[in-house]
Amino acid sequence: MWQWFHKLGSPKWFFGIATRFMPWLLAGGLLLLAAGLTWGLAFAPEDYLQGNSYRIIFIHVPSAFLAQSIYISMAVAAVVTLVWRMKLADVFVKAIAPVGLVFTFLSLFTGAVWGKPTWGTWWVWDARLTSMLILLFLYGGVIALDRAINDEKSAARAVAVLVLVGVVNIPIIKYSVDWWNTLHQPATFKLTEKPTMPMEMWLPLLLSVLGLYLLFGWLTCIRMKTEILIREQRTRWVRELVMAGGK
């Protein structure tokens, strides 16, 4: 098991694996997302109360899922950075922090657009919305801190500590709607319990969520490969790769 773990830490090995998986991730992600969004936006029945405006859920919920999952995976990578000093874990954190920022912004934005016709307001300082805004700032802080420190190793450690400090926010986001009175409703899309929506709404939502996860995987591979090439530009395998025309 440890051997596999250390192999994973090798940038060259990861580069090869990522190149092999990328087309599958892209194809699967696009397919699932296209199917989920077309089904959800055009064919799923409308809601009895909200009419068509509920359809924003097919973008809002997948982005919110990603926003939190990305942070959790960053926290796992941060532990690996701090404990095992694995370079690849740091590459991972740097590669996906901006992606997390975008998805967090997207879920806040779609939520506001939906909130106006449904609640009657764009924004309210309830626990769910506020903790999600804090997540946005955490992503921004991680990116800024990384850019602010020139030395690669100290930047990696500082970023890892910040990521770990921020991970406390994740359960707060998740359970805010259960612990406190909020305007935001409790979770509709649950994997562990019976969903509170009919199958013909739940299935397209599931497809969109899965599709976005795969697309995120593809994006991660691309961004990590770029970062690896930049960092390892002086090594022999990268030089050979470039000489061979990237093949």
């Binding site: 029945p45 409308e46 809601d47 009895y48 109360l49 909200q50 509920y54 859920i57 532990v79 701090l82 404990v83 095992w84 016709p117 449904t118 609640w119 009657g120 307001t121 309210v124 300082w125 309830d126 626990a127 500590v161 770990l164 400090v165 991970v167 406390v168 707060i172 612990w179 406190w180 009175n181 909020t182 305007l183 409703q185 409790p186 979770a187 509709t188 509170t196 929506m197 009919p198 013909e200 709404m201």
Partner: protein, 159 residues
């Protein structure tokens, strides 16, 4: 595992656990401030200061909405099924406002125990369903009136 790594891992775990406890205690102490609104039982129990801007939320009681015919004034009662509070609001209500739906209102309690709202937000729940399903549910819950409804429908169809 290498002893140095083990030590680092312990430090990291302690860091996260300590932070979690600190944040947990803080949010627990601040729980009333984090709550977006007071519910009717809290208001009935006198936990709410008079004439201070607060939010109150709950379910609009069935059959309690009275609209003033000459203005935008609306009166209704908000309940959490153990206590209920009368509310007053002048203005345009959100589309989702209806009896049996959740609302969160911003305003202040007056001396007579009425809540004078200056903003009313609709609170949506996590239930989503197609209109046909909602209608079927409605019909099922009004099963005893079904016969009368059918008669009325037939009557109106005849005209």
């Amino acid at each position: 595992m290498h002893p140095i790594r083990k030590k680092r891992l312990t430090i990291v775990l302690f860091l996260v656990a300590g932070l979690a406890i600190a944040v947990g205690l803080t949010t627990y102490a601040l729980r009333q401030n984090i709550n977006l609104f007071y519910d009717p039982s809290q208001i009935a129990a006198g936990e709410v200061p008079v004439d201070v801007r607060i939010r109150a939320g709950g379910m609009v009681e069935e059959g309690s909405v009275v609209r003033d015919p000459d203005s935008l004034k609306v009166e209704f009662r908000v309940t959490d099924f153990s206590a209920s509070v009368p509310m007053e609001y002048v203005g345009i209500l959100p589309d989702l406002f209806a009896e049996g739906q959740g609302v969160v209102a911003m305003g202040r309690m007056d001396a007579n125990g009425r809540f004078i709202a200056d903003q009313v937000l609709a609170k949506h729940d996590e239930q989503y369903m197609p209109p046909e399903v909602a209608e079927a549910l409605e019909r099922a819950s009004k099963g005893q009136h079904k016969a009368a409804d059918a008669e009325k429908a037939a009557e109106s169809a005849a005209y």
